[in-house]
């Protein structure tokens, strides 16, 4: 066995990363090689010194600073409120969307079937999505003991809404504009 290669194995041995067979193999070599035996002793001393070097501590007010920084960021961000607001916006936009569809059907008959299908499917997906989110939030609040489910729900809610409240709000507003434009268009055509 080449000693250079053996040095790496000695370190792996000291690191506890060698299996039994390799460990026996390396120990046999060390017993018969003074260079490697010397290397093992030096490494043991180095490991000992490294283990005695203490962990360092930050300044005494560190935890307080971290916590106040988190609180400030939380107040500015207020994820809970933004989630709720985004959910409300998305939900009301969906409701209006469905209302507009109903109106469209009621007001005009010239709307192509493809457009109706498209509008219908988007509204359906949106409604299911919104209802699922609402249900998740509701059940999470209701069953406060089921922490696993709650954490999962919160993750989903936060991931989808909390991270993109502005995006959701924009979509909701665009839906409102769309509803308004549809209404105008349909009324113009009707008259």
């Amino acid at each position: 066995m080449r000693c250079e290669f053996c040095e790496e194995k000695i370190m792996e041995y000291l690191d506890g990363e060698l299996d039994l067979q390799k460990k026996e193999h390396i120990l046999r070599h060390i017993n018969s090689c003074s260079r490697c035996s010397h290397f093992l002793t030096a490494m043991r001393a180095e490991y000992m010194m490294l283990s005695e070097l203490p962990l360092l501590s930050p300044s005494p007010g560190f935890t307080r600073k971290v916590m106040s920084s988190i609180r400030n960021k939380r107040a500015a961000h207020a994820p809970g409120e933004s989630v709720l607001m985004a959910a409300v916006l998305a939900f009301s936009a969906l409701a209006l969307h469905i209302l507009a569809l109903w109106n469209a059907e009621y007001l005009i008959f010239t709307l192509t079937s493809a457009a109706r299908w498209f509008a219908g499917i988007t509204a359906f997906i949106g409604a299911v999505f919104g209802a699922a989110l609402w249900l998740m939030n509701f059940t999470a609040k209701l069953f406060t003991f089921s922490q696993d489910i709650l954490v999962f729900n919160q993750r989903v809610l936060l991931d989808i809404l909390g991270e993109y409240p502005v995006g959701i709000a924009v979509i909701a507003l665009l839906s409102l504009v769309e509803v308004f434009l549809w209404g105008r268009l349909l009324q113009t055509k009707k008259s």
């Binding site: 040095e7 790496e8 370190m11 792996e12 690191d15 990363e17 030096a42 490494m43 180095e46 490991y47 010194m49 490294l50 283990s51 005695e52 070097l53 203490p54 962990l55 360092l56 501590s57 930050p58 300044s59 560190f62 935890t63 600073k65 971290v66 916590m67 920084s69 988190i70 609180r71 960021k73 939380r74 809970g80 003991f145 089921s146 922490q147 696993d148 709650l150 954490v151 919160q154 993750r155 936060l158 991931d159 909390g162």
Partner: protein
């Protein structure tokens, strides 16, 4: 599951809560629970930052930044895939790498972003001869060798965990760890 969870408060009184339990509490909106995690890991995070940045002030700033980032990213932490400590070391390591990059950009003359280790009163208190020599020898190691060494010996990470923190393959991690120790041995005891 229900049995364990309904007895949650009693459980907390009996036993120090583990990381995952605290994370759940934080995700439920109890931000103060995060304080336990800060207290638990601040020395380790700070030591890693200090060993990478060699400056007490900068290490403190980056550690603080790391904890804020950890807090904000808790909801995407996947306990099934990574140990919490490995995950937070990775966040800290990445922040330190960014910090070193910025340092290099603002002071291009500084060699490899390494500054002379600053000796604070706290540092001096622990710096007895042997420890001081070792501390200086670690600081003098190139960053790529120093970090795996610190993660293994100060943070007790396995080879595999170091791979995850540094996002490097096992062969490179092993190689850097070995080279770091060889370099350290040379600095401490001279060549062969």
């Amino acid at each position: 599951m229900g049995q364990e969870l309904t007895g949650d408060e009693n459980y907390a009184e009996r036993k120090i809560p583990d990381d995952e339990k605290i994370i759940k509490q934080v995700l439920l909106g109890d931000a103060t629970a995060f304080e336990i995690l800060v207290e638990r890991y601040k020395s380790k995070i700070f030591t890693l930052a200090y060993r990478m940045l060699s400056s007490m002030e900068e290490a403190e700033d980056v550690s603080q930044e790391a904890f804020v980032k950890i807090y904000r990213s808790l909801k995407i932490y996947d306990a099934g895939r990574t140990k919490f400590s490995t995950w937070i070391y990775r966040i800290t390591y990445n922040l330190c790498v960014d910090h070193l990059r910025k340092r290099r950009e603002t002071a291009p003359l500084a060699e490899d972003g390494i500054v002379a280790p600053s000796a604070s009163p706290e540092e001096l208190a622990v710096a007895k001869d042997g420890a001081r020599i070792l501390h200086e020898a670690i600081c003098e190691l190139p960053e790529e060798y120093r970090v795996p060494l610190v993660l293994f010996h100060f943070h007790g990470l396995s080879y595999r965990e170091i791979c995850k923190v540094l996002n490097l393959p096992m062969s490179i991690v092993k190689n850097r760890l070995f080279r770091a120790r060889r370099l350290l041995k040379e600095k401490l005891y001279g060549g062969d």
